[in-house]
């Protein structure tokens, strides 16, 4: 047991140590050997420019796929499916779980309405609102109000209250989701519904599904030969309040959506993120969402991956679910809010020690798979933490520390122009991001001025500055905390709407 704790601690230290070693080593190199540092910077800049180009290509592929699949009538296609391994359209149930902390009706009503308006028979749809007890009285009353308002619309509308401070739990969304899922299990048991016939979608309280979401999900679930060995990941977009949000927050969230779209093209690395769906059977077998991890959305994937001996994957759904942009009234509060949200996402690095400890224990997962997956996991967090710092802050250091002699060398002389040229190539991809963002954008609400459309285009000019300051620092922050064993508490991103819908 002691050995396990020790190993886990070592794996907690590795990502932060790797990041800090890289950054400190590069600073030292820039002082001691500016020419070597300059060579590294140029190599990295080139690598980064090509990587950005590659990722943008994947973004275009993903966008085209999204556009193509949007045109499909998923519900019709689901209905037309023959029974596959005991499952068909008519015996597939949808369970939608909303873990609620303190979100109000202004946030929850649009989410429930989106379910209500979706193209899927509501008599096979169960809604579960799992409300945190520590969130206070208001959310619970809101939940009761919603149950009263919508219970006739759905097969069942379950409302439950997740008690605070249960043994083995920390204050995370995962603990609340698990509680809600167990309540659902009781309901399904009472109704004698086979778990494999139930697809559970765990949605953030602000998640509004597209009308075709459940049709698409059902189709893929039924046709997937390993339906219980997969999670189903829609593309998260942040359109709920995008017209009202601050430009800086919009660019960051659009960037997040684009990264998710890109990830759908890289299936070997693809993990669940934010709102996602899976077989209820899988969830029960794997032991529900982790109740002691903040990054429950990705942790459930790794939990399943370990539980099913590596035989687990994520299937991308080219259908969007819309959430709120984390924004505030002022620029500084918006940046702080975004920073905290990104740090929470970056806290997903806690999956690394969890997965590594699991790999050490599980002898049935092939070694190559273990190496590949742990490398991808570590590399993604490592790159997240260092790239922006290298491109913006480390790159000029050889010139600063190199002195006059270094500046007289050809590499010293060429460094600024080559870095700038490679940076400009990377920036060119912003144009593609801008175009895709405009294509994905929901219609402009009538109360939003037309000039906002122009801002939607020009806001992309903020991207380099945002990348420099919000790109890597939250990830370094998260990794450093993990490295020193200062475990983060779950911080709920406050969700409020400008125009409450009651």
């Amino acid at each position: 047991m002691k050995k396990e704790i020790l190993y886990r601690r070592i794996f907690e230290i590795i990502p932060g140590l790797l990041t800090w070693t890289t950054l400190v080593a590069l600073i030292v190199l820039a002082i001691v050997r500016p020419v070597w540092a300059a060579i590294f910077v140029i190599m990295f800049d080139l690598y980064w420019a090509i990587r950005v180009g590659y990722l943008t290509t994947l973004l275009i592929f993903a966008y085209r796929r999204l556009e193509k699949e949007k045109k499909r009538d998923w519900l019709k296609e689901s209905k037309g499916l023959a029974r596959i391994n005991g499952l068909e359209y008519d015996n597939t149930y949808q369970a939608v779980l909303f873990p609620v902390y303190n979100e109000g009706l202004d946030v929850l009503i649009p989410s429930i309405e989106a379910l209500n308006n979706s193209h899927y028979p509501k008599d096979r749809m169960v809604v579960i609102l799992s409300v945190e007890e520590r969130g206070g009285v208001d959310p619970w009353e809101s939940a009761l109000f919603l149950k009263d308002r919508y219970k006739r619309n759905f097969y069942e509308f379950l409302v439950t209250r997740h008690p605070d401070r249960l043994t083995g739990e920390v204050k995370t969304k995962g603990a609340n989701a698990t509680w809600g899922a167990k309540v659902l299990k009781e309901f399904l048991d009472s109704e004698h519904i086979d778990y494999e016939h139930v697809i559970i979608s765990c949605f953030d309280a602000d998640t509004c599904v597209e009308k075709d979401y459940f049709g698409c999900l059902t189709y893929h679930y039924i046709t997937n030969p390993k339906r219980t060995r997969s999670s189903y990941q829609p593309i998260p977009v942040y359109h709920n309040n995008i017209w009202q949000a601050r430009s800086i927050a919009r660019v960051i969230e659009l960037g997040s959506s684009f990264m998710q779209m890109i990830e759908t093209m890289r299936l070997e690395k693809f993990v669940t993120f934010s709102s996602h769906s899976m077989s209820f059977k899988t969830l029960v077998e794997a032991g529900y969402w982790p109740t002691d991890m903040i990054s429950d959305d990705s942790a459930i994937y790794w939990k399943c991956f370990l539980h099913f001996d590596g035989d687990y994957s994520v299937m991308p759904l080219y259908v969007t679910v819309s959430m709120d942009v984390a924004t505030a009234k002022g620029i500084i509060p918006t940046i702080i809010k975004q920073y905290k949200q990104k740090r929470r996402w970056a806290w997903g690095v806690e999956n690394f020690p969890y997965v590594m400890a699991g790999f050490l224990k599980n002898k049935r997962i092939p070694l190559t798979k273990k190496i590949r997956r742990s490398f991808h996991l570590l590399e993604s967090h490592y790159t997240w933490a260092v790239w922006a710092i290298i491109v913006t802050f480390i790159a000029p250091l050889p010139l600063i520390f190199g002195g006059g002699i270094f500046r007289q060398t050809t590499i010293g002389y060429n460094l600024p122009s080559i870095s700038a040229a490679l940076f400009r190539i990377s920036l060119a991809t912003l144009f593609i991001c801008m175009l895709i963002s405009m294509k994905l954008l929901p219609p402009r609400p009538k109360d939003v001025k037309p000039k906002e459309r122009l801002i939607m285009v020009t806001q992309w000019l903020l991207a380099p500055a945002i990348a420099a300051f919000i790109g890597s620092i939250p990830a370094i922050d998260a990794q450093t905390r993990l490295m020193f064993g200062q475990y983060m508490q779950f911080h709920v991103t406050e969700k409020t709407r400008k125009n409450p819908l009651h």
Binding site: I39, M43, Y47, T410, I411
Partner: protein, 320 residues
């Protein structure tokens, strides 16, 4: 095409592009030129030329380059090159510049002077002498009086009708408080009092010119004392200090030092009110450097001491 195939192709294309571009970018950055025929790389240097005005043609060993200044000429083999920078209407610039391997040779201070200089007459009067103040004014001593204008000759104003300027002015200096201007020739020192801050009365001169002293010995140099009310003047025999206040006959003039030989060189440091000068010893064959400290305290003490000595002397004379 399947997404997976497209993605795999993109990945390997990017990978290949990286490994293809890496040696090219690194070689370029480090100053190597790749000879693709011989499949080898050799070291080169860069020359950077910046001229004022820009846009000049560059010739390397007599051969014109396509780059115009500011020009970055790359892939030059190490060696010495004759560089000509030319632009129509300007004198050419030429220099031998050495290019070292993997290094940058910079010539950033190339100034091309125009062939035809722009000369503009600033004043139409017969000018005896002139001086530029640090407030960017031109002062002219003319046969028609003392004038002041902006540096380009505009805003000309006659400050005084005084025109009795000496034939040859040896030196001119503004006082530290900028209110006075002294000028001198071999035996005389004049001061122009410029009461510029006072309202000008129509028809009357706004300045006053006064001869403040006449020296029996040839004057070598004159300096303002830092408080602008005394003048330190050096003749070939003495270092003197004279006050400005009072009428001509009552002016105090003190001999601070008597040279053994006429000074070969002297310098007055206004910041420390110190006069540096050379003087010989009695043997007259060697000159030493001396410093006379005229700072306020020292100067006050000296003046008091001298005053006391004078009083004693006068008392003695009276008692005689």
């Amino acid at each position: 095409m399947e997404d997976k195939i497209k993605r795999t192709l993109s990945f390997y294309f990017s990978l290949a592009l990286f490994f293809l571009l890496l040696p090219i970018v690194l070689a370029y950055s480090l100053g190597y030129k790749i000879d693709y025929h011989a499949l080898r790389a050799y070291k080169t240097g860069i020359m950077y030329l910046k001229s004022q005005p820009p846009g000049a043609s560059v010739y390397i060993n007599g051969k014109e380059r396509k780059e115009l200044t500011p020009a970055r000429i790359e892939e030059l083999k190490p060696g010495t090159y004759r560089v000509d920078v030319k632009r129509d209407g300007f004198f050419p610039w030429q220099k031998e510049l050495a290019v070292r391997p993997n290094m940058v040779t910079k010539a950033e201070d190339i100034v091309l002077f125009p062939l035809t200089q722009e000369i503009k007459k600033v004043c139409d009067y017969d000018v005896k002498d002139f001086i530029i103040s640090d407030k960017n004014y031109l002062y002219y001593m003319t046969s028609a009086g003392l004038f002041r204008s902006s540096l380009d000759g505009t805003n000309m104003k006659r400050l005084s009708s005084y025109s009795d300027w000496p034939e040859m002015i040896v030196g001119k200096k503004f006082s530290p408080d900028r209110d006075k201007l002294l000028y001198f020739n071999k035996f005389h020192i004049w001061v122009i009092y410029m009461n510029l801050d006072k309202s000008l009365v129509k028809g009357k001169d706004s300045v006053k010119v006064e001869e403040v002293l006449t020296s029996p010995d040839p004057i070598i140099d004159v300096h303002w004392y830092s408080e602008s009310r005394h003048i330190v003047f050096v003749t070939d025999k003495y270092i003197n200090v004279g006050e400005l206040s009072g009428s001509e006959g009552e002016r105090n003039i003190v001999i601070l030092y008597k040279f053994n030989a006429s000074p070969k060189s002297l310098f007055y440091d206004e910041a420390s009110d110190s006069l540096y000068f050379t003087d010989s010893t009695s043997s007259k064959d060697r000159a030493y450097l001396y410093r006379l400290d005229l700072r306020q305290n020292f100067f006050d003490q000296l003046m008091q001491r001298l005053k006391k000595e004078f009083e004693i002397r006068y008392e003695k004379r009276d008692s005689l």
